[in-house]
């Protein structure tokens, strides 16, 4: 297992920019291919957006964290927040095969998370939401 990279974020959407820059730097340090990095960026973007938008309905400033590390041929990310318990995997899959008029936007972010990663797990431990993302690195 390599070094665990860690980023602490505030509940503000402007943090997505910092998340992207941090992932870029991690990708370089861990020699991750651009496509895998893009997949993690999009998935974490969607999950972080959910945390910022819904995890702290009482408002005020809160901090939560993202960690990223490499384990052999796998890249793993862990998002941990102490907001409202929320399992993104319980979100219904969007209906993709519809006409323009019928098409709804909901659930697309979590659909990307499921689609772009090889394994997604949720747990609620010690009062915190943990979402773990894993993808096999191409050789």
């Amino acid at each position: 297992m390599t070094e665990r990279h860690k980023l602490v974020l505030k509940n503000d959407l402007s943090e997505l920019q910092r998340l992207a820059q941090w992932l870029e730097a991690c990708g370089e340090a861990e020699a991750v291919d651009p496509k895998t990095l893009f997949n993690f960026n999009l998935a974490l973007d969607e999950l972080v957006t959910n945390v910022v938008s819904y995890a702290y309905p009482e408002g005020g400033e809160h901090a939560f964290s993202v960690e990223l590390w490499r384990e052999g041929g796998r890249l793993i990310a862990m998002l941990v927040d102490d907001g409202v318990p929320f399992n993104p995997l319980e979100i219904a899959e969007p209906e993709l095969d519809t006409t323009l008029d019928e098409r709804k936007i909901g659930g697309l972010g979590v659909h990307f998370v499921r689609k772009l990663l090889d394994d997604v797990r949720y747990s609620h431990e010690d009062g915190r939401n943990h979402v773990r993302l894993m993808k096999h690195l191409s050789v």
Binding site: L13, S14, L16, Q17, A20, K35, F38, N41, L42, D45, E46, T49, V52, S53, P94, L96, D97, T98, T99, L100, D101, R103, I105, L108, G109, H111, F112, K115, L116
Partner: protein, 111 residues
Amino acid sequence: MNVSEEKIDNALVLKVSGRIDSSTAPDLQTHLMDCIGRAPTILIDLAETDYMSSAGLRVILMGAKTCKKDARQFGLCCLQESVHEVFEISGFLSIIQAFATREEALQALAG
């Protein structure tokens, strides 16, 4: 993210550069909704958009629906590979017209 607009005959082309995520999408929404109504054809040129999340797709979907309701033409062009992938896995490519080049798009939509 930056948005610039260009009028080409009957079409209004919105060129979006940079990242479209949940922090920048509201700005795109403002631009797009302001444009619809000013031309019979709206084309979004994504040649310089290197990233889009579901927040951006939400705005694009809203634009496509509004144009359809008003009987206007709506399309996208010049999607980079990663943005194309996002459109593909969201199923949007079967409901929104996307073209390889601006010329192709203008010919098909406004021609």
